[in-house]
């Protein structure tokens, strides 16, 4: 079928804006979807023709990302955050309210083409749950009452601006700080509860960059190495070492990528840094570029944070005007450097796996966000085959501060193996959820006390891929030597059902597995089914061994970090909360499999045979007559 000229026109325009470059597929798809409402077969064919790729390749990318649709979507796409924190905050009522007022179920679009309703994993608003995304707009602290107001306003005006927060009147109030910036204008709150010395404190802008340009690139690398700075995304790899390896690889080009794909459930610290410390981040990226010899930078911003894009683009533009990006950066801050560096923003589209650095690079290259084989490592061969440094937002924000204040100052904060501070995104059952910047090595209990989490019985440290710990472990220290964390910290009281939390996380990993390798794609589904059996009261003691064995196979044989951690919710909760499981397991005296339900199994046969079971239905003779 020939594509309509309308579709063709829009696709051509979108593709041309990005130089008909298949590596800019993500940008092209966003633009096409924004204008056509979806990316259907016709659009895929046109995009393939314009970018010199195959239709099925385009389809492969479109169907990889949750935010891209192949069927027509409403003008307003509502994505309800279904994270466990939002569930505890009453998201079921919010969902019911949307379904009732819109007259559609999740996954559907209203007949008038105005609204589509979807569920989505953590959107980084756990400290102000329940929250939803309406297109790019974030709405937090929702109640069923507000839901009907939102829907009636949008139905009447068909303009998203009408539900944007306003300082006077209006449905919602703007958040604090830069959330009030005209280019953000969001009701999102920063909730900075404790500003530490390094990241959330005041600092001298560009002092770090000026300091860096006084030194040779190798000296800057040496300094970051000596500072002991380690990646804040969770893995804790030495930042200086990463830079050193990228700088040491012979290449014509090098890239610096900032990983702002903050997808770990319960994490939202990067959102606050991007809102309040964007210049510090860009300064850090510039220093990294100088140190490794990169001319190009990419900020990979998760699709959920698209509302921050106009503001971040504005910050970049201001830096270009000031001479802090582009050519002659050195002149501006008084150094000798005559190299150039610029940054572009790459928007993600709803894929947790893209937080993994090689998947993130695949996504930047316009492909399915699947991890790459290692070796080669990104520092050897990353974006388009060039040596690439991928650092977390928080890691890069530390860099200018180290250059500004020196190694010994930085090392004096935190522990011997974990220098500096850590941002914690605290949510769940506590009176003061939000952001806490604390020296590395503070204990779980200290953070619980600060956050006003009085009766915490369980803390999920580091998000879904982290550890679920109980009271006896609250003395442990949050640092690389003891309990490493990417920044999520969710407190749960005794009233919460631990298995419900674990079950949700397994659901999350199944949804977010890229499906590349067998153990992660299939094994996680089996893990969840095994857990469901226990939750339904059909578990036997041997099921624990089954889950442990299966979990081990997944961890050992998976290809990337997702599969290396996905069984952890079950395995760590089994370890720290054995009684929760034991209470549900029973040994069957009859030797039958507990998971086997004869009535359930017979149902299908009854329908096919159009009669009941002679053996298992006591009223067999009666039912014969009734039929």
């Amino acid at each position: 079928m020939e594509p309509s000229t309308y579709t063709q026109g829009i696709v051509q325009e979108a593709c041309r804006r990005f130089g008909n470059d298949a590596h800019r597929m993500m940008d092209i798809l966003w633009e096409v979807q924004d204008r056509l409402g979806c990316i259907d077969g016709q659009a895929m064919e046109c995009i393939a023709a314009e970018t010199g790729s195959y239709r099925v390749e385009v389809e492969g990318v479109v169907t990889f990302y949750a935010f891209f649709a192949t069927t027509p979507q409403g003008q307003f796409i509502i994505r309800i955050c279904e994270d466990i924190i939002d569930r505890h905050a009453g998201v079921e009522e919010i969902r019911a309210a949307f379904e009732k007022t819109l007259g559609i179920a999740v996954g559907q679009t209203t007949n008038d083409g105005l609204f589509s309703l979807h569920l989505t994993p953590c959107i980084g608003m756990c400290d102000q749950a329940p929250a939803v995304l309406i297109n790019d707009l974030v709405v937090t602290g929702l109640t069923p009452g507000k839901v009907s107001k939102i829907v009636s306003t949008l139905k009447k005006s068909r303009n998203l601006n009408d539900i944007k927060p306003q300082s006077k009147g209006g449905l919602f109030k703007p958040g604090e700080g830069n959330n009030q910036h005209p280019l953000i204008r969001s009701m999102v709150k920063n909730n900075i509860r404790l500003a530490g010395e390094i990241l959330l404190n005041t600092y001298s802008p560009e002092a770090g960059l000026a300091g860096a340009l006084q030194q040779t690139p190798a000296e800057v690398v040496e300094m970051i190495l000596a500072s002991g700075l380690r990646g804040r995304g969770g893995a804790g790899f030495s930042t200086g070492r990463k830079w050193q390896m990228a700088a040491a690889t012979e290449a014509e080009e090098r890239y610096v990528i900032c990983n702002a794909d903050e997808g770990e459930p319960g994490t939202f610290k990067d959102r606050v840094l991007l809102t309040e410390k964007a210049d510090l981040l860009f300064e850090g990226m510039t220093i990294a570029a100088y140190a490794v010899g990169a001319r190009h930078g990419i900020l990979y911003l998760r699709g959920e944070y698209r509302y921050l894009r106009p503001y971040l683009e504005h910050c970049l533009e201001e830096r270009r005007k000031k001479g802090l990006l582009g050519a002659n950066i050195g002149k501006t801050v008084g150094g000798q450097y005559d190299g150039e560096f610029d940054i572009r923003i790459q928007i993600g589209a709803g894929a947790y796996i893209c937080g993994e650095e090689s998947s993130l690079i695949s996504s930047c290259e316009g492909r399915r966000g699947e991890p790459k084989n290692r070796p080669p490592y990104p520092v050897q061969s990353g974006y388009l085959g060039y040596p690439t440094v991928v650092n977390n937002v928080e890691t890069l924000c530390n860099v200018p501060r180290i250059l500004e204040k020196g190694i010994s100052w930085f090392r004096s904060i935190g522990t011997s193996e974990s220098a500096g501070t850590k941002l914690h995104s605290v949510s769940g059952d506590c009176s003061r959820p939000g952001i806490y910047e604390l020296p590395m090595g503070c204990t779980v209990q200290e953070l619980l006390d600060l956050a006003g989490a009085k009766d915490s019985a369980c803390v999920q440290v580091g998000g879904a891929s982290g550890d679920m710990i109980g009271r006896t472990e609250f003395g442990r220290r949050l640092c690389f030597e003891d309990l490493p964390t990417a920044g999520a910290f969710m407190s749960f009281t005794q009233t919460r059902n631990i298995l419900e939390i674990v079950d949700y996380y397994m659901h999350f990993f199944i949804e977010e597995s890229c499906g590349y390798c067998t153990p992660c794609r299939v094994g996680n589904v089996f893990m969840k089914k095994g857990l469901e059996k226990i939750i339904q009261g059909q578990g036997e003691p041997s099921d624990l061994e089954y889950l442990k064995d299966l979990g081990k196979t997944i961890i050992e044989t998976s290809r990337c970090g997702l599969g290396h951690t996905s069984p952890k919710p079950i395995l760590t909760s089994m370890k720290h909360f054995p009684l929760v499981y034991a209470a549900l397991l029973k040994e069957r005296p009859d030797g039958l499999q507990a998971g086997f339900n004869i009535q359930h199994a017979l149902d299908e046969s009854r329908i096919i045979a159009k009669r009941r079971s002679l053996i298992y239905d006591p009223d067999y003779s009666k039912s014969e007559k009734a039929d």
């Binding site: 399915r368 499906g515 050992e556 044989t557």
Partner: protein
Amino acid sequence: MTKNSVAPDQDTLQFTVDGEVFSAKKGLSIMDACDAAGVYVPRLCDSDGLVPQGSCRVCSVKQNGRTVAACTQPLEDGAVIENESLEIKNYRRDLVRMLFHEGNHLCPICEASGRCELQAMAYRLGISQATKYPYLQPVRPVDASHPDIALDNNRCILCGRCIRASRDVDGKNVFEYVGRGIHKRIGVNADCLANTDASIDDYAMSLDVCPVGCIIRKGEGFFAPIGERQFDHGPIGSEIQHPDSRLIPVKQYDPREDS
């Protein structure tokens, strides 16, 4: 350093597999080195002549204590490889079982039976009875639109051999992965196979490529009688394994080993 000073053994490296010492050319993957040494590493997504991708993970081995995919992992000098340890065998069994349970693999009615690599791998690994996992019983669409080829996606194990064969050998890109996670499947470069430039003469459609019964060559079913099918003659891997190999290729399944 001059060329003359290079000692002849500088291009080779030493490694052991399950305690036996071998040497190999530098720059090989673990699997290629093992193949050259006559040691068979079980595999499904890897096939001769195609770029390895490391997705099925059946070729998992331990290199110096770390579990890696032999097809994509470079062999290190002095590497200690575990290929047939109980731990590795159990991982492989779990992975093959996962593939069986993910799709609909009903060997007795499948045209590929006897030349199916998934089936042959199960036999080789000693899987011959019902396994512990639940069956996912997918209902994926069958594409029989093409005059000469049918695709039964319910038997697909996502090895991607057809993708690489079509792209790298045929230069066509008939196939590509679409979807994500457990919903991932093989898509075709049009709304259905008939509207692509796929041909029965493509390498991608040959019996060498699809390891299972997903790509079906119409009009050729059950061409080999029982007793003369590919794996009736010997277990999978026989062609690679050195005939004097001390490892017994097929081993009766022992449930005690599984625990």
